[in-house]
């Protein structure tokens, strides 16, 4: 029996996991990171366009601050977000970006003087101030009132991950590569670590830890086509689900990015549109202004993806052998700009499509991109039901994004949540509650259980193929749990997924080899993925309203009266064929920004009975304090600063707001 003890076990070596590890190490704790792949190859590396932080350095971002970032994020979430978490996030994002700058990220900088830019398909001149020269600049992204997305060309995730990967090494933190957690060690309401399989040797090891953190990203790969890396299968989230104790939040909230290339589904960044690119239809017509006169191509992603699909349904798509698509036209931006600021996009177009985007339009269509749902945690990153289990980044639902995430808020969330959650993990480990209290008998039991499961798969004779089950699941999710959803299709999806789940208990492998065995890996993963897929489909079926990225054609209204809540899913018994779904109220009465119209998309919602009173209360409070500055006003509406770890409290300096 191989057992390794540590203070903090981090599962996942992307931005969120690494930042958590660095944070707890700085607090003097022992930490181990487990990763399916070398850390610098994690999916974080694929973030192209940038990271939102309200620095307000560039002319088009002038006047930006936490308040505006807060409002944009809450509207983007369609009021599904936890507004206190949003406040914690927007106040820490500038600190996170400045920390990364100190660690070596070569953020693109403001250059003084005039330069040409493209906005709304027209050339404009932007004049940058002298005193902003050399500070971090920003570009435009969807759903934001200011240019707030800081970037390094279109390789932002790459530069962030490399800087953080190097910091991890500098801090002497072991990152154990090609290790896959199969199950959490837990007893009652306490998590004690994980059973882990070495993907090279097949050996099982129990990692026992005071705190276990899941930072394994999203579950895009339950869909047939996704912009996600192939390791984003949701199996990390499934570890929490399979405890039967931890809850998952808002799993039906799945984002489709407007512009992935056909057929590979590889992303072209929102920066293409942020920098002035437009969408065109089969006639070459720029159609988004017809639907969204205010934000046009730069409405939130859920809205743009729906408008594109709507337009294609009207027969305005470009037919191709792979189905209809639309065009992303960045030819107006010019070669110099594209080769400097959109060079990954250019590479992708050249290698995968054989086209030069400086001169040719890019064939795109909306494609699964982001998982708003994940392991439900409180604002400290801890599961409310399974103590000692933490989660942050895309795998968590703490809940920053509600039902739709804004572009540039995900990489920002990875590092911000890593910074914050690391402090709470360290606090937890330093208290009595964090003491290890696990007997070796329990460890033996879990190791034995996982060994038996693997043996059962290796010896299985039921005849089912993991590949076939997986392909069926991917197709069901694509066809029936996509951008536009109906009760009828969702019901069929749930039934088909249940059938696939039952069949997944009868897999037969052709390769019986122990050790590295890709077929065995595929088999145990598909069992986990089907449970995740069922959480998504069942959550979507039961939520009879439309909110953010979850759109029901049979219930097109956002219904605050009945559905201003968060979906919670648990898997109560291993033999179940469905998750148990419960709901958690999102109280209007303490919202800083009460629900209303987002400012884009269709104005069509049913108010919560408390909304009117809360709006009046907010107005009254603000009217009573005409002398107060923005900090005082904010504080009066919704206190949040006491929730932040002490070291991350405090205001952020700007050119116009000196400390």
């Amino acid at each position: 029996m191989k057992v390794v003890y540590t203070d903090v076990l981090v599962i996942g070596g992307g931005l969120a996991g690494l930042r958590t590890a660095v944070g707890v190490r700085r607090r003097g704790l022992d930490v181990l990171v487990l990763s399916l792949v070398p850390a610098k190859r994690s999916h974080s590396v694929a973030a192209q366009g940038g990271m939102q932080a309200s620095l307000g350095n560039s002319a088009m971002g002038a006047g930006d601050n936490e308040d505006i970032h807060f409002e944009d994020t809450v509207r983007g979430s369609d009021w599904g977000a936890d507004q206190r978490v949003v406040r914690m996030f927007v106040n820490t994002a500038p600190k996170a970006i400045r920390e990364l700058a100190a660690w070596g990220v070569p953020w693109s900088r403001v250059a003084r003087g005039s330069r040409e830019s493209v906005v709304n398909a027209e050339k404009i001149t932007i004049a940058e101030a002298d005193d902003a020269h050399g500070l971090i600049t920003a570009r435009d992204f969807g759903g934001t009132k200011k240019w707030r997305t800081c970037y390094t060309s279109d390789g932002t995730g790459h530069t962030m991950l490399y800087a953080l990967g190097d910091q991890t090494i500098a801090h002497g933190i072991p990152v154990l590569e090609r290790q896959e957690a199969l199950a959490l060690l837990h007893e009652g309401d306490r998590c004690h670590g994980a059973v882990v399989r070495d993907l090279i040797t097949g050996e099982l090891t129990a990692y026992v830890a005071k705190a276990t953190t899941i930072a394994t990203g999203g579950y895009g790969r339950i869909y047939k086509v996704s912009t996600n890396a192939i390791i984003c299968e949701g199996t990390g989230i499934a570890l929490a689900l399979e405890t039967g104790v931890a809850t998952l939040g808002n799993m039906e909230a799945v984002q489709f990015h407007p512009t992935a290339i056909i057929t590979a589904g590889i992303l072209t960044t929102e920066g293409c549109r942020g920098d002035g690119g437009v969408l065109r239809d089969v006639d070459g017509h720029r159609f988004m202004p017809d639907y969204e006169p205010e934000k046009k191509e730069l409405a939130s992603r859920d809205v743009v993806s729906r408008r594109m699909t709507e337009h294609m349904r009207k027969g305005k798509g470009v037919p191709s052998r792979y189905g209809d698509h639309l065009w992303l036209d960045i030819t107006g931006l010019g070669r110099a700009h594209i080769e400097k600021n959109l060079r990954e996009v250019k590479d992708i177009c050249e290698y995968f499509l054989g086209i030069d985007p400086v001169e040719q339009w890019i064939p795109v269509r909306p494609t699964q991109h982001y998982s708003m749902g994940g392991i439900r945690t409180d604002h400290t990153g801890q599961s409310p039901t399974l103590k000692g289990l933490f989660s942050c980044g895309e795998s968590a639902c703490w809940d920053l994004h509600g039902f739709n995430r804004l572009g540039g808020n995900s990489v920002a969330e990875t590092v911000v949540s890593g910074m914050i959650v690391a402090e709470f993990i360290a606090d937890y480990c330093e208290t009595e509650g964090g003491d290890l209290s696990i007997g070796t008998g329990l460890v033996r039991e879990f190791l034995e259980r996982e060994r038996q499961r693997l043996d059962a798969l290796l010896e299985g004779t039921g005849g089912e193929s993991a590949t076939a089950l997986r392909e069926s699941m991917e197709a069901v999710m694509m066809d029936k749990v996509g951008i536009f959803r109906t009760g009828e299709e969702l019901e069929a999806a749930v039934q088909e997924l249940q059938d696939l789940l039952r069949r997944s208990r009868n897999i037969t492998l052709r390769t019986k080899a122990p050790g590295a065995n890709p077929e065995l890996v595929a088999a145990y993963r598909v069992q986990k993925m089907l449970k995740i897929a069922l959480c998504v489909a069942q959550g979507a079926l039961l939520r009879t309203e439309s909110r953010g990225a979850h759109f029901r054609e049979d219930y097109p209204q956002r219904n605050d009266r009945d559905w201003l809540n968060r979906t919670l899913a648990t898997w109560d018994h291993e033999a179940d064929d469905l998750p148990t779904i419960r709901y958690e109220e999102i109280p209007v009465t303490d919202m800083e920004l009460p629900p209303g119209f987002r400012g884009y998309g269709t104005r069509n919602h049913v108010d919560h009975p408390d909304t009117g009173a809360r709006v009046a209360e907010v107005e009254k409070k603000l009217a009573e304090m005409p002398e107060a500055d923005r900090f005082g006003r904010q504080q009066a509406l919704m206190e949040y600063e006491s929730l932040l770890p002490e070291k991350y409290r405090g205001r952020n300096e700007r050119l116009t707001e000196r400390l």
Binding site: V37, P38, K40, R41, S42, V45, A46, L55, P94, K95, A96, I97, R98, E99, A101, A102, G104, P106, W107, S108, R109, V110, H133, G134, T152, H158, T159, A163, D166, I169, A170, E177, R178, I200, A229, I230, I231, T263, A264, I266, E350, Y351, F352, G354, I355, D356, R510, T511, A513, G515, A516, P518, E519, A522, Y648, R651, N652, E653, L655, L659
Partner: protein, 256 residues
């Protein structure tokens, strides 16, 4: 690019049956011996080696080992020898290759099995050996404005930062074949990147301690295989030549 653009209309023509020879070996299995195995795959439109290899694993041999993560040419996982030349398999379109394709694991790195090699372990070792992170003396006050940087300098740093640690440069390197501790273009480029960065406060004398020997910058024989195969088109030749000059100066001045 032009070859691929010309090749695309061929998608419409009669599909080819690709003959893919893969070097198989599983070091975990005592019975395994290295051998070439032939797989036949019907070519599909826009097929990449990522698609072809998954097709083989899903439909012909589920034991086949290879590594893909991003499948978009940005994570550096899938470098292998494609018809003898190091390259990223995920963004290699089969239409740009002949009907007969040979795939082998990247040399130089520890073999995990078949086409899978342990580049991650080597890269971590390189980073530790070169202390390849920003060495800055003081902490920063995160509430304050960030340090300024000239916009052009940030762009120059990004240019070198674009390395994805795929290992192609080492697989194509003559020196690495002879010196197993050679730090390679990837390591030298990383030092060049850190040296360019004012946030790293080390001097040339410090860098000399790290790369001023035959396992470092003086081991390079200027064969430039690294530059020929770099999937990110990094100007490795210039960086290595520049670093060699700077390290020579550092050596001379430290002795005078």
């Amino acid at each position: 690019m032009s070859t691929q653009m010309q090749a695309r209309p061929a998608d419409e023509a009669v599909a080819r049956r690709l003959k893919i020879h893969i070097l198989r070996y599983n070091p975990q299995d005592p019975a395994s011996k290295p051998h070439l195995q032939l797989f036949e795959v019907d070519e599909a439109p826009s097929m990449t080696l990522f698609v072809a290899l998954n097709d083989i694993r899903d439909r012909q041999d589920p034991s086949l080992q290879f590594d893909f993560v991003c499948r978009a040419g940005i994570c550096g996982s899938c470098a292998m020898l494609i018809n003898g030349r190091p390259g990223l398999a995920c963004r290699t379109l089969t239409s740009g290759l002949g009907e007969r394709i040979t795939l082998a694991p990247l040399p130089f790195f520890e073999l995990i099995g078949d086409l899978s090699v342990n580049t991650g372990k080597w890269m971590r070792g390189m980073s530790e050996r070169l202390e390849a992170w920003i060495h800055s003396g003081t902490g920063v006050d995160l509430r304050r404005l960030e340090e300024r940087m000239e916009p052009e300098l940030a762009e120059q740093i990004y240019e070198l930062e674009r390395c994805i640690e795929c290992g192609c440069c080492l697989a194509a390197c003559g020196t690495a074949r002879m010196r197993e501790d050679f730090i390679g273009a990837v390591g030298l480029n990383k030092i060049a990147r850190l040296r360019l960065d004012p946030r790293d406060q080390r001097t040339d004398a410090d860098y000399y301690e790290l790369i001023g020997d035959d396992d470092g910058v003086f081991g390079c024989m200027s064969l430039l295989g690294c530059q020929d195969v770099c999937p990110k088109d990094l100007d490795l030749q210039t960086q290595i030549a520049y670093m060699r000059r700077k390290m020579l100066r550092a050596a001379v001045f430290s002795r005078s």
